[in-house]
Symmetry: C2
């Protein structure tokens, strides 16, 4: 925990994908340096991670602090600022998804007392958009804003099962990383599993990402019937080896309710575009 500076310098082999030399790209290089594991960074660390020269990092970081995108603690560490959070909360995807499904997620939690996850597909990973749990739930690793592999989680498999062929191919091509002895690493097996998920409308995941954790997941459909998210209940193997089967109906029901709600409430609602053209005066520069 209190290790000295273990900088696994990523600098040497930077540019891996030409970060671009625009200022904006540098700005986001800084911001992207932050992550769940590294929520606070000092100047040197930022330079090490981004590979940018010190003075550049220093200047941009200062600008970002000025703009509220970063916050500088008195101990010199930088963190993501409140404004970033506020801006992020405007992202339509997670926002409406959350707004619509929270009550149902809630009920689901209430009846199961387990972790309930809501996730969407982003790139070739699962992105957790919401998570509800309580003191009665076992704790799991995933966090809101966190990511997991597609082939080794319940939500991931659901999303992958309903994803375009290309993505499925890409995932297979990239190789199915083994996380536990039970991870599905054979392409054929995975494809068959996905097929079954499409047929049954539910995905089960038993210790495929981490030992001791099991989950079931169901798809959530958007207004256009396409799968936009996945809902899952996660538990510990020991506590509920088979009992997860018992929550499947409830899970299904919740997922369907949310889908229906999405279809009705947000077909032409604020989310569906918010009629462009209607512009109200800009919020007087807060702060």
């Amino acid at each position: 925990m209190t290790e000295p500076t273990i900088l696994t310098m990523t600098a040497p082999r930077e540019d891996a994908h030409k970060p671009g030399r625009t200022v904006s790209s540098r700005v986001f290089a800084l911001l992207n340096a932050f992550s769940q594991e590294r929520p606070a960074l000092r100047l040197v660390e930022l330079t090490a991670v981004t590979g940018l020269p010190v003075s550049t990092v220093h200047r941009i970081a200062a600008e970002l602090v000025e703009l509220g995108a970063l916050k500088k603690e008195r101990d010199g560490t930088y963190r993501i600022g409140l404004r970033m959070w506020e801006l992020g909360s405007l992202c339509p995807q997670p926002r409406t998804l959350r707004d619509v499904s929270l009550p149902f997620i809630h009920d689901l939690y209430e009846t199961t007392a387990e972790n309930v996850h809501l996730a969407v597909l982003d790139g070739d990973e699962v992105l957790y958009v919401e998570r509800v749990w309580g003191r009665r739930s076992v704790d799991v690793v995933s966090r809101v804003g966190g990511r997991s592999p597609l082939h080794a989680t319940g939500v991931g498999k659901v999303l992958l099962a309903h994803a375009p062929r290309e993505l499925q191919q890409a995932v297979l091509a990239a190789g199915l990383r083994r996380y536990t002895p039970r991870t599905i690493v054979m392409p054929g097996l995975l494809m068959r599993a996905l097929q079954e998920i499409r047929e049954t409308g539910i995905a089960r995941c038993a210790e495929e990402l981490s030992l001791g954790t099991v989950s079931v997941a169901a798809p959530i459909h958007g207004p256009d019937r396409r799968v936009v998210a996945a809902l899952s209940v996660v538990s510990h193997t020991v506590t509920h080896t088979r009992s997860l089967a018992a929550v499947e109906p409830a899970l299904r029901l919740a997922a369907m309710s949310i889908s229906r709600e999405l279809a009705k409430g947000y077909a032409g609602g604020p989310e569906a575009g918010g009629p462009p053209g209607t512009v109200t005066p800009i919020r007087s520069a807060a702060r």
Copy 2:
């Protein structure tokens, strides 16, 4: 809703506070153009709102899309991108606050079936960090990521009551805007109310922001005993005129529990600084 283009050009009197002429400031000028009311903007709208020339906006917007900070729909509108949400979710304040308090908020909702709000102070406003509700709750306006005035809400009054004198003065100096007949607009009355809130440890707000809505709020203390957030239960006047008094003990309890949890779990935890110096390799440039 489907009005033609009502551009209340803010351009003419821009610079009100010199936006700065750095690229980063322009980037955030674009991003800040988005808000709860205007979650989707088209190019022209962006230029109108920011006051920047078209080509500049076009170029920067394209860069931001490239970086995932914005998303461009096929209809030409821009929206906040998933990456922004993801970055925002790293903001320590809302994140740990949420992580710690969700179970309690939950229980509180469960016992009251009312809206439960968690808010922090930002600038001279209340910023809603979390909100839990269900089908049994009445709907209120506030949204996660939304803002409200300090002097006309339960959470606001709690936060203001424990805020530094300067802020209180500033709020008074700025003038107490009247929202309803019951809004406290007299400085003296507000100060007295704040005093009482400090003494009783609870704030009541009866139709001071909008008619028909009442709430009670309690402070949440951080590890250093300073007030870091406020928790509240919100309801409709009609449904629960007096019954809110009944939830006060539960509210108090929840707030205290959260405070205690904050004190213990996060004193030296990841939030408290996440020992800088420990750096793991950068996440291979996703996307």
